[in-house]
Structure formats: C-alpha cells, structure tokens
Subunit: 334 residues, 6 copies
C-alpha cells in the first residue's frame, strides 16, 4: 500500500464548546483541519502512509499545526513556512433546526499566497502512489491552481492514481479564473471522481436529477468527457435536522451500479469533515478492497466521523469494519 | 418600530456544564436571565429597540449583570442599584426522563425589595411603544405589584400596547395579596394576552379543556371580562421526555382562530426561556407582521431557543425566517 | 432497613469530556467507581445505610477515593490502605454507532493484591443485614476470592440476605481458578440472583435462549442447583446504538413470572454503571417493597442512571418514584 | 483527643478561576466555607474528630454542602434543613496591589434564620470536648446569638474547653443587639481567646497599640475582665501586597509571652480562611502539645493555608510538622 | 466631562490559559483588544463617556466584538461592518525569563482595509471633546492614515483635545509611507504627547538618553517642532523579568518636571494593555485633575492593569484612588 | 549532528490545574513524560534528531502516548507495544512552603515488564551517535537493566557518546539487584556524567561535600574509577521555597573547572523535568559548542523549563540563546 499524497490548506478551527455561540463564553477550543488534510489524517489512522503538502505560518501557530499533523504520523517533511498567517475559521455548532455557522479568515493566508518555490514536486512525490485533491485548492489563487496542476501532471506521468473531490464552493473563486474551466483542466488529470450530481452538473453544465438512473447517465457522460476518470462515487446525505442525518453511497465504475443501505446517525456530534471521511475511507478501500467494499468502507467511515469532535476522522480500520459487520449497537469495548 | 419596555427581575443563573449535578463537580457556568429580560434581549437580537427596567445589586455582581444586558444592546439606563443582593437561581439540566431541577435564592433580592423611588416611569417610558409584563413580577412583593401597576397605568395613558404572559407560579405569592385578584387588576390594563387554558382558568376561575373549541370559548370569555384584551396567543408543548419536545401555537383574535404545525425538537439543548422566546417572537412579529405570521414567527423562535444554552434566545430574524421558509435540515451556513 | 454491605474494588475512572478521545485533548475528568461501590452509593442515595469494604492506596489518590465515598454518606470505616496503587480505568465515551472504549490498569492494584489481615469480617458485618457481591471480585485474585468467600460464609451464618450479580468477564480470570467452579461456590452462599440467561448458562453450562419461557426454565434450573437462591431478576437492554437504548426487566421467584414495560432512553448520557443501578434499585426495593415493585423500582433506577454522568446513580427515591408514577415527560422541577 | 464542635454558617463560595473578574468569563468554581466550618474541616484534616452544627437549604445545594462536609469526615448528623436558601458569597481574587473583593448574599439565609428547634444541644454536644465559636455567628441574628449562647452555656456546664475568634465585622450587626455587649456575654463563657489588639480593643473599649508590651497588657486586662479566659493567641500578618504576606504569632497565657518567627509567603495562592487555619492549628495543637508548640503549629498551618485554593486548609499534621522542622524549601515529595 | 473618541482596530486575542503554549492544549480563551479600544474601555470603566470608531467583520465574530464593547458601555454606534475578517492575534503568556510571544493575523483585516465611506467624522465627533490616537493606526494602510488624518483635522477644528501615543512598531509600516513623516503630520494635529525618549527620538531623529535631563530637553525640542503639543508624559518600566516589573512616570508640561515613585508589581498577571491603561488613566486624570495628579492616576492605573487578565484595564476610579492613597497591601474588600 | 537515542519509560502524568489537590476538583490534565523522554523531546525542540525507545500499552492510552511523542518529531519507530498498561503518575503541584507531591503507579507497567524481544538494538541504533540513559531505567526490573546494558554495550562498540544522569531513587530498586553495583556496570559504559556530589558519593561510596574543591576531587575520583568518563557536569539548585529557585552549574572535564552564574527563577511554574532540561541542553550543547558553552546552554535551558507547564522543555535554541545573551527581562516578542 503506497504513500498517499494530499495537497491543500491547513486551517485552524476555533469553536466554542458544546452548542455555545462565541457571544456566550470566552472559552473556545481549536483543532486543525482542511479538506485534503482531513483525508490524509484519516487514511493515516487507517494505517496508510500519507504525506501532506502545504504552507503554514512561520510562528508558533504554524509549529502547532505541524505538531498536530505529526501527531497522526502524517509526514510533514514537504510543508513549507511562510511569513503570512495560517488560515483560520470560526465555527459555531448547531443543533436540531439551528444550522452550524462558519466564518472564514483565509483569503490572504500562508497557503493562499503559496509561491512556486515552496513545493518541490519531484521530491514530494518520490514515494507517492496516490494523489488526492479537492476543488477548494484551485479556488484559492492562481498560484495554488498552477502548483496543483503541476503536481497532478507529474503524478500522472509517474502513473499515480489521482482522486478528486471537486467540491465547488462559489464564495471562494475570486482571482478571476473560470471555475468550470479550471476544474475541467484538473479533472482531466484524475482517475477517481468522488462527487455527486451537483458536482457533475457544475462541471459538465448539465442538469441531471438525483435519481439513480440520472446518476448512471451523468457518470457515463462525465467519463466520456474526461476519459481518464474510471470510477464515480457519490455519498448521499439525508438530514432530518442538524442533529439527525442518514448516509448512504452509490457508485458507477463504467460497468456496475451499486448502492449501500442508509446508516442512521441519530445523534450527530460533529458533521465537519464527514465528506472527507468518506473520501478517505474510499481511497483506503480502493487500495485494499474491491470497488463495492471500498464504497461500503467509505460510507461507514463517513457515518462514524459524525461521532467524533473536530474535523478529522479518528476511526481505525477495526472501528469501521465492526460497523460493516453489523455491530452498530454501540456495545461497550472492554 | 418603537421601543419595547420590559420590567422585571434580573436573576443570575448558575449551572453545572452538560448534564452534571452540583454534587459532581465544582466547575459551573453563570448566565443572567429573568422572564421579562429574556423577552427583552430576544427582541433586541431581532433588531428591536428595548429598554429593561429593574433593580440590581450595587456590587461587582450587579455590574456584571448590567454588562451582560448591555452586551445585547438593551438599554440599562433605567436600572437602579440596591444594597440587597441580586437574585440567584441554581439549575441542574435534566435528560430523557430526568427533569431539570431549580433552586431559587430570590426572596429578599434587590428586585423583590424594590422601592418606589427606584423607578421613574415618566422618564422610563418616554420612548416606549410596547410594555411587556409577566405574572412573576406581581408575585414577588407588594411594592413590585404597586410599581408594575403604576407603570401599566401610565403606559395605557400613553396609548402603548401592553402584552402579558400572566404565568401563575403558586410558590411565589407569599406577601398576602390574592393572586387571582392581583392578576385581574393588571390584565385589565393589558391588550395582548400570551397564555393558554391554564392561565385563563386561573384568572377566570373556569375549567376549560385543552381542545381548540374550548380555547376559543375561553378566549372569548376572557375578552369579555377584560375588554382591553384584543388577542390571545397560546403556545403548546408536547414532551416525549426532557430531551425531545414538540411546539406549536394557536390564536384567537376575536375574529379568527389559527394554529401552526408542530415543530419537532428532537434534541433539546436548554429549555429555559423558551416560553419567553415565544413571547418575544410574537411581540416582534406583531410589530412587523400580521397576527398569524406573528404567531408563526413566535412559534419558530420558541423552537429555535431550545437549541441555545442559557436563558436567552440568540436567534436573529434571519435565523427564524429560515425556519419559516422550511429550512429545517440544519444545512451548514458557510 | 438494615445496613447493606458491599465489598469490591474502588477504581478511578479517567475520561475526556463529552465525546472526545484521549488523543484530542489533555483535559480529562475523574470519577470513582467499581461495580459493588456503585451499588452501595446508589443505595445510600436512596437513603439506605451502606458500608463499603475495600482496599485503597495509601496516598493522596486513596484519600481522594475515601473522600469521594464519604461524600455520599457510605461508611468507609472498614476500608484498608495498601502500598499498592489504586486501580485505574480510562474511558472514551462513544456515540451512535461508535462504542465506548475502556482501558484498564488494575491487575496489580491495591484491591487485587488484598491480604487477609486487611478485612476484619466480624467487625465489618456487625450491623450488616444484606451483603452484595459481584463476579468481578473473585476474578481478580485467589486472595480476593478467599476473602469474599469468608465474608459470605459469615454473612450467611448471621442470616444476612446475600445478593449477587455474577457477571462473568473472561478477561479477568487469570490467577488459575476455574470461573465456573469459583462462581458456583459463591452462588451457593447467595439468596438473590441478579442476572440473565448469559450468566445462568455460564454457571450451569446450559444453553437457554432469551425467551421468557426459557428464562423461567433456566431460573428454575438454577434454583434447583443452588437451593439458597430464592429469586432471579433479569434486566434486558435493547440498543438501537450507543446513544439510544431501551430497558426492561423480568423476574422469577419460584412462583411468579413478571416483566416490566420498556423504558425508552432516547438520549443516553452515560451507560457506565447502569447495571449496578438496577441492582441497587432492586436491593433497595426488596428491602422496602414486594418483588414486583422492587423490580419496577430497579428498572426505573437503571433507566434514570443513563442520564447521569459518571459511574454512580445519583437518583433519589423521589426521582425514581416519579417515573414509576408515569412522570417521564421531564417537566421542570421548580 | 475528644470531639471538637463547631457551630456556624455554611456558605457557598463562587469565584472565577485564576485572577479573573466575573465580568470577564462565565466559567466559575464553587467551594463551601464559613469561618467555623473552615476550622472544623482543618482539624478533621489533622485527624481530629469534628462535628459541625449548622442549617442548610433543603434542596440540591444543601445536599451538595452536606456532601462537601462529609467528604472531609466531619460529622453532619446535627445539621438541620430549612426552606431558606443557603448563604452565598462571590469572590474575585486579587493580585499585587489589587485587593480581593467579596459580595455577600447571606442576610436571609438558612442559617441566619435559624430557629431554636433546629439545634438539640444536648444531643449535639454528647461527645464534645471542645467548642469553637467566632464573632460572625452572633452578628447574624438574635436567634443565632441566643442559640450560640445556649450552646456555650451547656458546653461550660459539661466542662468543655471553649475557644473564640471574636472577629468583629461591623457590616453584619444589623438586628439591633450591641456588638460589644453581645460579644462580652459570649466571651465570658470562653477559655481560649484567639485574637489580637483590634479584637481586644473592640471588646474592652481600650486603645492598646500593636507592640508586644501592649499585647501583654491588653491580654492581662482581658483576662481580668473575663476570668474564664486562660490564654490569648494573636496571629500577625504583614502584607507587602495581595500576593506577598508574612505571618507570625504571639501568645500570653498569664505567665509567659512567646512569639514565633515570620513565615514568608512569597506567592499567595488564596488567603481566604487563613485565620481559620491558624485557629484550627492552634486548637489541634492545644489538644496535643504545649502552648508554645501549639502556637507554632497554628502559625505554620496558617502559612500553609495560603498555598491552597478554597476556604479550607487541606494540610495534614505531617505537612505542618515538616515546616516546623525547617523543610520550607518545597522539595518534591516523591 | 465630555465624550472621548477612540479610533482604531479591534483585534480578537486568542491565548491558552495560564502559562501554556498553543502546542500543549486545545483549550484557549479569547478577549478583544486593540490599543485605542483598550484606552476607550478603560476610560469607560472610570465612568467616562466613550465612543469607539472602527470596522469589524460582518459575521458572528464581528457581532461578538460589538457585544464585547457594548458590555463596557462604550458606544459602538459608529462602528462599520465589512466583508473582511476581524484581525486576530495569538498570544502565549511568558513567565520569569520567558517572554510572552505574539503572532498577528491582521494585515488584510476589516480595519486595515477600511474605506472612506465607513467613517462619517461629522457624525462621529458630534459630542466629542477628546480624541485619542496611536501610532498603530497610520501604520496599517494608506486609507487608515488618510481617515485618521481627516478625523484629527476635524477634531482640531472643533477645538477638541487630541492625545497621541505615537508608538512606532517597525514591523507594521508596509504600505510605503515613511513612518517618521506620517507621524509628524499627525503629531502636528495633537496636543498631548504620551511617549518617552524612544518615541521622541524616532519622530525627531534625535538621540536623547533616558536621563531626566534629556527627557526635559527632548520634550522641549518636541514642543518646539510641534507647537500644538502642550504636555509630554512618559511611563517608565523596569523589568526584573516577565513576572516582575516596576512602573513610574514623569512629565514635562513646558513649565514643570515631575516624576512619580516606582510601583512594584511583584507578580505580573498580564502585561498586555498596560501602556494603554497609563494613557487611559492619564486622559481621565487630565479631564478631572491637575497634570501631576493625572500622571499619578495614570501610573497607578497602569500598575493595576498588570493584575487583570486580558487587554483591558478593569479598574474603577475607586480602585485607582485606593492605591494613590497608599492602600497597596491588598487588604480584602468585604 | 547525529541522532540521539533515549531509552526509558513513558509515563502518563495526571495533575489538577493550578495549585489544586485531587480532592478539590474532578477536572485534571494529562501530559506524558519520563526522564529520558523529556531529554529526547527537549533535544528535538532544539532541532536535534532523536529516537526514543520504549514500550507502551497496546490500547488508546498507548496510542495517545505515541501521538504525543510524534508531535515533537521524535521518532517512535522503535517503540514496542505490550499488553501491560502504561505507567501513570499523579502530581499535585505545590506552592511556597508546600512541596509538590507525587504518587506513582508504574511497578507493573508496560515498560517495567519489558521483554528482550521488544528491543532490536541493531536496528534501533543504526543512525545513533549519542545514547542517553538515567538511573531510573536499571532500577525498574532485571530485564530493564539487562536490555539497557545490552544497548550501551552495542553503543560503545559503535563508538557512540554515552551520557548518563545516574539519579539514584532508592524507592525504585526492588527486584534484588544492588543499585551501586548495577550503576557501576553501566557507568563504566558511559562517557559523560551528568550528576553531582550525591550521585558520585552514592556510586563511589564516598562522602564528598558540596564545595567546589570537593566537586573537583570527587569528579577526579570518579574518572579514575570509571576511565570512560571524560566530563562531569553538575547542576545546583538553591530553593527559597517551592515557588522560587535559583539554578547554576559547574563542570570538571579533567582539565578545567568552570561554573556559571545563578539564574534567578522568581516565579516557578513547573519544576518537573528541569533536571532533564539541563541534560538535554548540555547534550545539545556538547554536540554543537565547547564544554563551557554547552554547560551554560544547559543551565539556561534548565532555568527556562521552570516556566513551562508539563514535563517537557518547550524552549528552542533561539529561546535559550536569548537568555545567554542577557535578555532576561521578559520583553514581549512581537
């Protein structure tokens, strides 16, 4: 099982404990996250080898971020330091009909203002077998887009698998590049597509519905436009409210459509990073199992993440496997 | 939208974190509350202009209470200081079949021992358009009753709208006055009645049931006895247990009966002050919308309050409106 | 109502707040517990007289344990001190499909290495009318087994009631004694059996199913093999997941089979010690009510315990009785 | 060593952590204290037998207070319950030139409104050999004065030693009784006087200075006016600022004047209850040592108390003795 | 006593509790500060009328900042909202020979990117009598410099007193303007100079020493170059280490040189904002007392601030006056 | 600068916040430490390459320990897992004349019960250039002694530098081996001796005094008996009390005696691990500077450690160097 490379921003998350708002107390907690890092740490928690590539601030906050990543055994040897501050986001966790709320302070962060000399792709990818990227990175700045594209190009040359979660977040794309065009350039360098109807419609400019039929059609369409894409995986969330979700997944690999049962998350603890947990479970699964079992693994990993505080899935393979084997009654592990 | 006047005790609430009892830990949190203040702060959070009239202790606890009220932009310029301590209540929050428990230390508090010179109604009501009072205040002491009555009389002379939540709490009425009689005197100075069958039966000495038919009959009866009352609003709570409630509301305005759908609060965070949140939403609604929309707004505000820690509804108009527009899936606000 | 004697290890429990794992934060909480102590403290919270017999470390941790037990009014006058450290367990509380996880550090603890001179049974049982033991104690060491057996023998000579919760935890029995044989010796000194099909099958080497019919048959079988046993009580847990359980109970006293309704625990706070809460409620009930009401009391006590943090049931008789009277809507106690 | 009886109010202390003011955070801690209780618990921590007599609220706060006292092994069997709330005080701990600040909420507390039927002196003093009272209790209410006097009278009849710390706090005496006269009545029932020039001047109406000569003269004068007084002990505090104090003590027992060296408390942690720690150390010392060694013990106990958070001295005899033996370098106890 | 206007950035400060570094724990606290805001809040705590002018983020962090300022009764009616995030700084508090460390994230903050339409000086200064500015604001951006200059110009036209603390922080001046020149333009619009030899040397390009003689010469020199300057006040800190400082002050008002005694701060709690506390005390003093007493008041206020956590001086006039009257022994305020 | 190898137990430290005792609160913090690990992490914080060799528990506590070590970039690749629990120690931090108190639970820990197959010295020392050991390890068990000796033998064969801090803690040596003899065997495999008169007297059975003359004589004596020892470094602590220490150091390298000035630590934060900080600073210094500068570096590192909470020195080379350059006034690092 070769090294997985993740590339993306490291954000410091600051949030009040429990269900409090910032206006109610001055005690808060911090975690570190970032969609690609979340994927990387989760894979490391499954026992995978992971290197995260990023830029952090050259101060005690950057050092704390590095220490946080080290803690999980993810390699930080290709992380650069910058005079710019680390990106921060503030989170208030919701409940029932109250949604969680986020405020970002990331637009001039150390990663957004990444410079070409900060990443040495040859060195960074030396042991890499898998490269995972998301739609957040190319949205941040022209340099971030360029450097990502350079990395993906080298990754493909080296024959690495490239997975993408091409999340489109309209609020981020401010530097002038057309999102659809940018994503298309990068998807054409990718082999595994982790996304649903929204992402496909965005990239293709189509209008598919959420039905399974349309999912197959949309995936087929996508694979025609982007022949490097071999598989499409989609995670579906049904929310009763902020505190009660259901998760299932479906896939099309060009030959076979499969879907999983709903997993019922009756008491959501923290939904941040649950999509990343799906991607991580899926990547780990595709490195170790067949497509369907990988999707099941990703889906169970995603459900489990809802029970951990913070951005990162702390589950091990044993934890996820227990769910796949039907042990969802939460019986005490003595 | 004119200034809303609230008049009543400010209490310091002290409670252990989470579901702990006092016997389990020595770390606790404090908040400030009081039924009328909760209404006032909630209206201020909706963007309304609010002045709260009260008496607090002349020490660092009283100063902290003032600072807490200031924080929300509620005017504290008519709050007096007294040598008596601020009222305190201790709260242990329950779960499932365990009810929350409250212990009060308020019977000789700065507000209970209010003196006439402490309130200058002429000055206090100068910009007032709405006066809200509850059945707690007249229950505390003869002086509290007298001063409230004086204020209401002036409010009516100035043509202000007067709303009442005539909660009857039998444990409080200790100074000799007959509760039924006292409440009647004050209700006859009011125009909006926020209360249900229990309150009407208490005030009229009747025995109406909880049915909608009886609600209309009881309201009609009430409006006959108290011709100043123009509208009656009732909030109905259905509790599966301490942690799972449903909320709906109904109204009779002399012409029209309306009721709302149940809002399902599957994971109650803190139920203190939810009735006050209904009153606040309703008052804000009646200042800005028609009767039915006002009631819907109050009902959604009430439901939302169950998701905030502390006595006070922190929701904004945007938050409540989102629920009225059907956004109850708790989707992340990025 | 005479004194209840409990005998067993006192463990320090250390756990992160909320749903955190140890790897996520360095702030943790400690409680004290231990299955027999949990029973004792719960009975003391019901107003019963209780003495706990144990061995703790001769340092500030042992002193803190003693202080913790004193807090609840349980007599610590027969607790001995030892040079060995107090046993510790680390707990991570799960949620939804994530089970709680436990790590023990107890194998050479002050209690496991108990020596005969540390317990003076004559003195310890002077006022005792009831002795409660569990299957944990004889599993710890030969000395623990011997001393327990000595105590039970004297208890029976004095005509005390002896209840047992003969939990079989395979991971503990390491000192060579055959568990089945050891438990049999001790059960033959007991009069009330608190356990279900698993425990009976373990002790008898049988293979009964979970049906009510089999429960009666198994209990009858047990009472034949162990004629001192007069009553069998079984608590049944149905888990949707870690956060949502249901509890009911059933009994066979040689004449009558009874069972209770399910109590629905929709939001579990802490399930540690809920079995002990059942035993404690049952013992208190048997001292004060008839068999069926005792079982109902135990079952409601068990359900309530799921709403308290820590190992110990903090409910009073009033709290439990309220549930038996149908007050499960969690209405605020003002 | 016979049982020490303490009689006085139990107060709940609520204070922010560290050096914070209430206005800065909503996380606070609570402790229980009260000058006589502090003395009692400290003596219990020295291994003495102690019973505290008081009245607490009949709710979960009163229960928590009882549990707190039980924790230290002080007997709570003569504590009564009342419908009135427990007294509370709020504390902000100062630093350097900032003094600590206190706000009391005690004037209608369960203890202030004590009633004669709440104390059964015959039963309460059954095993008593020493009775300790302070000037706080008679200041609270006529009933408190009466009941204290009744207890002291019985104590003297039984030949008990009676110590007094007749602290005069002018803010408390509000019920009409003349403090000087009230204290005189009670001092004439006492045998050990723990107080300095201020207290003697207050009681005698004299004007002695702080010099050793005047201390001897004042003590002699006091012992003439109150022939039951056998010994006078005075603790002298020199404060550089809130964070740096020195403590020494002096005594006159009718025959001998002695004084101790200064103990230098370079980093004060919490000065609340340090006077009570002196009294407790002295009482324990007088029960076990000669007058001078008792005073030294009290003085070292007082100094040590400055290093513990909360109202209560947690030091053991071993801890105090180590200081008397010159071990003040704070070398690690492994 | 007229309204004091402060204009400057509001920063969120995030710091671990106690002496911890970020790498050691994920629990942190936040406060709000900013050198000009600190001055404003401190004056409000003295009872002064204050308006703070600034720009905050249009999200829950900006709302929390507004609430924080409201809490102290400082007017927030001229604070604008912006799409840019609020500036943040991270602080690790040092001890003994370990200095505190700061990391800023402010360079593209809502205030740094202030736009002219965000401040309406006519309206903002309507009731103003005093304007206080510091050298931080003009260092942030060209717009910040321009808007400050515009405000000062109007303030002078209206005859307001203008005080300046022209702190020169070289790390901030990045937008191209020459600091010396910029400060000169603004100082020529000011009347009270709060700064020492370093600031004067920086502004004049001179090389005066720290001696009193040079201080007088430097001040005279300054007042010649900037004839609007009427008074110069200098606060002098002597540090043994991070935890032990001494503070004194000196002044030259063109006629008279005065200096105060050292105040010995033996246990520093938090030194952030102590310079601002000096400025605030001085401004309040100059509004109410003569120059020397104002300086003494500022010096004592500065010393007291070292005993409060957070950026803001929480002392009242009574607190400062007590020190001026010699009450520095930290005797308990009951 | 080659890799430093440290070998020893990893202990979990659990301690109340601030100055609290366990009996006062149930909130505690945990850290990881262990004398050799402390040295290793400190060297890593200086930028050195470090590998720590140990055995931890095979559960979430062991995983948390590994994560903690990873955080600082110390290699954990040679740490083994065991079924035995991780060693724990409980710490109550003292103040002024109150010493800190420690309670250990380590005697059957995963490291104490280390087995030969758990360490592969060939592999572990592959890149090692320096091996550091202390007198704790050989005290724990015969196996621990054997494995350490095996490692040291190989280290000497490979020409590695071997430093020792041969702390003699009498309470630990329980497995039968004579401490003096055991230490002698290991010291004869060492080249740098970090210890003072006490350690030398213990090892040699001599009776040298603390004077510099005796230090030279003792060191010379030691180097005669153990010819491999090339240098002796001694750290001298002078304690006013628990909260105020002074640190200096002296050395004899066979040719030259040198000593440093006292560093005055006026406000001790946490003294645990300060000796380890000296050793770490010295080792880093000897790898990079001459003997005297190395000792100075170690001494300053030791002093700095007193300002950090936890067992580990968090100082960087820049932090230590600042002190050596005389920057001890704690001026804010902006």
């Amino acid at each position: 099982m070769g090294q997985v490379i993740t590339f993306g921003e490291v954000l410091m998350r600051i949030s009040p404990r429990g269900k409090k708002k910032f206006i109610q107390s001055n005690m808060v907690e911090f975690f570190f996250g970032g969609t690609e890092l979340n994927v990387g740490i989760s894979i490391a928690n499954f026992g995978g080898k992971v290197k995260h590539i990023s830029v952090v601030s050259d101060d005690f906050i950057g050092e704390t971020a590095i220490a946080y990543i080290n803690k999980f055994g993810v390699s930080t040897s290709s992380i650069a330091f910058s005079k710019r501050p680390l990106g921060v986001y503030f989170l208030e966790i919701g409940a029932v009909m109250r949604p969680s709320a986020i405020s970002y302070n990331r637009s001039h962060s150390s990663f957004s203002e990444i410079k070409p000399h900060m990443v040495n792709w040859e060195k960074a990818l030396r042991k890499g077998e898998w490269f995972h990227w998301t739609g957040i990175t190319p949205a941040l700045s022209q340099e971030a887009f360029n450097i990502l594209k350079e990395g993906l190009t080298l990754a493909r040359e080296k024959g690495m698998t490239v997975s993408t979660d091409p999340t489109y977040r309209s609020g981020l794309w401010k530097y002038g590049k057309d999102p659809k065009e940018a994503l298309a350039e990068l998807i054409s360098l990718s082999t595994v597509f982790i996304g649903g109807i929204n992402e496909i419609n965005e990239v293709l400019g189509t209008n598919y519905s959420y039905s399974n039929e349309d999912f197959i059609a949309a995936s087929t369409d996508l694979m025609e436009k982007f022949p490097s894409i071999e598989k499409v995986f989609d995670k579906i969330r049904t929310s009763l409210n902020s505190s009660w979700h259901k998760i299932r997944a479906r896939m099309w690999n060009g030959k076979e459509f499969r879907e999983t049962e709903d997993l019922d998350i009756t008491h959501v603890v923290d939904r941040i990073g649950t999509g990343d947990a799906f991607a991580a479970g899926l990547i780990y699964g595709l490195q170790n199992y067949d497509d369907y079992k990988a999707m099941e693994f990703g889906s169970a990993a995603c459900a489990l993440k809802h029970t951990y505080e913070g951005d990162v899935n702390l589950a091990t393979v044993k934890d996820v496997t227990a769910i796949l084997e039907g042990n969802i009654s939460g019986r005490l592990n003595r």
